[in-house]
Symmetry: C2
Subunit: 135 residues, 2 copies
Amino acid sequence: MELESICFSSDCPSRGLFDQIADKWSAMVLAVLSEKPHRFNLIRRRLEGVSQKALTQCLRRLERNGLVTRRVVSLSPVAVEYEITALGRTLQKPLSELHQWTLENLADVDAAREAFDARQSDDTFSGIQLGKPAE
Amino acid sequence: MELESICFSSDCPSRGLFDQIADKWSAMVLAVLSEKPHRFNLIRRRLEGVSQKALTQCLRRLERNGLVTRRVVSLSPVAVEYEITALGRTLQKPLSELHQWTLENLADVDAAREAFDARQSDDTFSGIQLGKPAE
DNA sequence: CGGCATCCACAAAGATACTG
DNA sequence: CAGTATCTTTGTGGATGCCG
């Protein structure tokens, strides 16, 4: 439980897992599915901006990691239902807390960004713009 | 605090922030700095596998978001010390909990992956290998 | 020591077309 | 509807060299 328990070794398997669950869409997919099972295009419509390809890949990865199940409900027309698993629910909590953090601290972060960018602009006296990320 | 508080709109600013804090190295950098301030190459040596470029970018982003401070300790030889901020400490907790989850559930996830990959292999009867991600 | 600039390779993202 | 396949474009990572 100590912070030191984080292992920094490159062959620590939890590193790869961390990268797979902390990705752009997984948190939102799990949040949607935590309400109730959803079909593909239903998830897609709720996650504004996700491409079909990205969502497919995300769902595959979630399924492979045992966080969601994929069930073919009917053929012609094909209907597939995705459901969160018990394991997925255990992950959804820390993930939503992280999201919660972003909501609560957005103002502070924004202020920090403006201060940082202002500092960089001051350095323009050198004639070289460092190109602050537009974000 | 409700799960529904997650916003799925593409212009929700918390989305971009989430992507910036849930990246490959930030969690580990903050974990290292939560112990005590570190200099650049010290961080680098503790985070096995990080390239200098990746670490620089990560520290810049953390600095811009107000999560760490960068202080030039001495010139010639240049020494730069990075320190976690109060804001950074508030983030470090949910981040380490997420990491904790990966440690606790690695076995379950691995089992799920093997089951999934076995299922895919069975489908090879079709003659078409779906190309399970090597991970 | 702590970077930044450049080049290159590879991976990921997007758009489009097609299928059962 | 829920994908797959393919192509193109963009982004990211590593390696190298240079600088203050």
